[in-house]
Amino acid sequence: MTTRRAAARSLPGGRRPLVQRVLALNAWAVYAFFYLPIFILMFFSFNAGRFVTIWEGFSLDWYRVMFANEPLMKALRTSVVVAIVSTIVATVLGTAAALALERYRRWLGKRTFDALLYLPVIIPDVTMAVMLLIFFATVDLNRGLNTIILSHVAFNISFVSIVVRARIAQMDATLEEAAADLYASRWQAFRRVTLPLIMPGVLGGALLAFTLSLDDVVITQFVQGPGTSTLPVFVFGLIKRQVTPEINAVSTLMLVASMVLVFGSLLLQRRR
């Protein structure tokens, strides 16, 4: 996107400065570095042979194998349930946290809360995983879907509130005051003025949360309970045994879902 805009701004006749051209080239190199392996992986999921790196013709066999693999499909269902529930909860809580931090100027412990809210974004997954596992054990909570969902909510709240806060910061606070002047109750002002304005941020945050939940392996591996292995946990174990294009097919499925969501999230955030 940067490159296209830069090109549009440059004068006809191609008198772009060298720096700009080098940067554009660099951007393309970065894209290639990121996306080429992904395209190769997706490409080979349609391979007819068992070789993961030599093309032997088009086939959907590996997708058929994948859909017939009962434990794998069960893991997929678990993943989707976890992602949906944890996204809804994290979005509500994350948005509320963002509003509390942006709209209310002073309250007890605000600074501490502000600083600590981003902790899950910063600390390594494995640290958070062990922390959560110890926590669940200490409070005597039996592990299963509930603990996976709680953990995903825990790290997703931070991501949602970062996105929503950025949106609230851009919003004109006088709009809410105007609503109050016109005798809107606090709830009406929120429902009719604030929420529609921050909606792109909320949806963007929700999509980000959904993607992160669908992708998480480290934390889930620690906090899962009997019969609740998610798709990433299952696939991660698969790699150690044998690599067939079935893995490519699963990865493609997850990638396409993740990419659609990430791009959706970006688009929503850009919308005014």
Binding site: G49, R50, F51, V52, T53, I54, E56, E70, P71, A75, V126, T127, A129, V130, L133, I134, F136, A137, T138, D140, L141, N142, R143, G144, Q221, F222, Q224, G225, P226, G227, T228, S229, V233, F234, F236, G237, L238, I239, K240, R241, Q242, V243, T244
Partner: protein, 391 residues
């Protein structure tokens, strides 16, 4: 990464031990909160879970089985067969490292009736009091086990574990590098021919990597002699220029993709990759091979054990018994290509698997294999030795 997980697992252990020592299966252990710390063998009278296990009879089931296993390590049809035969459900959960499994079991708060720990992990878990003493009288097929796989160093009395499957550590190679006619020795790595020097990978595992060098030098890979260990360090350092990388996860992929020519690794990994790239028109075994060096290598064993988190101990015993059945044991091997410790299974295993020496080594080769045993306090010296080599 693996080591980090292990470290954190240990931290988790300490933290849970300090906090609340009775988080596992409250129903089963609430009467005796101290049992988790006591050795299972002596705690029997005050230990309801152990008492329940001791009362199990062959074929008895006491509820659905929560089976915590490695991903894709069992034929789904075997699971279906067990469910059909005993009218219970098997709930499968998956892990990809012994360490993450340890963290889960140690934390408690989740019911796992049966786990599949590797050899060294059995010792660790038994010492932590995380495993219950198996009731041999409920496992009628125990006699099917090959005597070689009883009384193994990680569980000398077979009190806590029953072998599930086993394999070896050796050398995977491209014929392009070694030719058809070569001596199957560790010298392939430690005295490399210049033609493939620099295209070699060694496992990134303190016991395995040093073990290879120790075997080449003619020592036991369970040595606790610092002098022998130092000699092994010097040996690996001497050929460090020809080692491309230390790699425990993708050693097999790197070999078949041509990144390396000679790789130190586990047989299951190599064979899985060779099979993976073979097609109707291409036989990878023409280009790649695996051998166990004549000086000897490592034999590893994955086992079945019942952790403290169990609630359905009788179903777990029955499942162990079920997998020790001759035909079921064979079905396991026919599905995942790892060798079976079940000698009664031999006649039901596909001939091409049983005749494959990289899965079932010959008796002479087998005699040279060693199981990795816990060296206790000396373990840290192995860790330090590997660190010294890599820096």
């Amino acid at each position: 990464m693996k080591r980090l997980l292990a470290l954190l697992g240990v931290l988790a252990l300490i933290a849970t031990a300090c906090g609340d020592d009775d988080t596992a299966t409250t129903a089963a252990t609430s009467a005796a909160p101290a049992t988790t710390a006591a050795p299972a063998t002596t705690a029997a009278p005050a230990d309801p879970l152990q008492a329940a296990a001791d009362a199990c009879t062959p074929g008895q089931v006491d509820g659905d089985l929560s089976f915590y296993n490695w991903t894709e390590y069992i034929d789904p049809e075997l699971i279906d067969a067990f469910e059909g035969e005993y009218g219970v459900e098997v709930i499968e959960t998956f892990y990809d490292s012994n360490e993450s499994m340890l963290a889960q079991v140690d934390a408690g708060g989740a019911v796992y009736d049966l786990i599949v720990p590797s050899d060294y992990m059995v010792t660790i878990m038994a010492e932590e009091g995380l495993l219950i003493d198996l009731n041999d009288s409920a496992i009628t097929n125990l006699g099917n086990l090959d005597p070689t796989f009883t009384g193994l160093p990680f569980d000398p009395d077979g009190a806590y574990s029953v072998p599930y499957q086993w394999g070896t550590t050796g050398i995977g190679f491209a014929y392009e590098a070694l030719g058809e006619d070569f001596t199957p020795s560790w010298s392939v790595i430690f005295e490399p021919d210049p033609s493939y020097a620099g295209e070699i990978s060694l496992l990134d595992d303190s016991r395995e990597t040093l073990g290879a060098a120790l075997k080449y030098l003619g020592y036991s890979l369970n040595t606790t002699s610092q002098a022998e260990l130092d000699e092994a360090v010097e040996l690996i350092r001497g050929v460090k220029d020809s080692i491309k990388l230390f790699d425990s996860t993708t050693f097999d992929d790197n070999l078949v993709e041509g990144e390396t020519m000679v790789a130190h690794g586990w047989n299951g990994g190599f064979l899985g990759s060779y099979d993976g790239i073979s097609t109707d028109d291409y036989d990878a075994y023409e280009d790649f091979g695996y051998f166990i060096p004549q000086e000897g290598g490592v034999a590893w064993v994955d086992t079945m054990a019942i952790p403290r988190t169990a609630e359905h101990v009788c179903t777990a015993h029955t499942f162990i018994d079920f997998l020790l059945d001759a035909e079921n044991g064979a079905a396991l091997t026919n599905w995942n290509f790892y060798a079976s410790p079940n000698s009664a299974s031999a006649e039901f295993i596909d001939p091409e698997i049983i005749e494959d020496e990289s899965i079932y080594p010959s008796d002479e080769t087998f005699a040279n294999l060693e199981f990795i045993a816990d060296t206790g306090d000396f373990e840290i010296n192995y860790q330090d030795a590997l660190t010294a080599i890599k820096n």
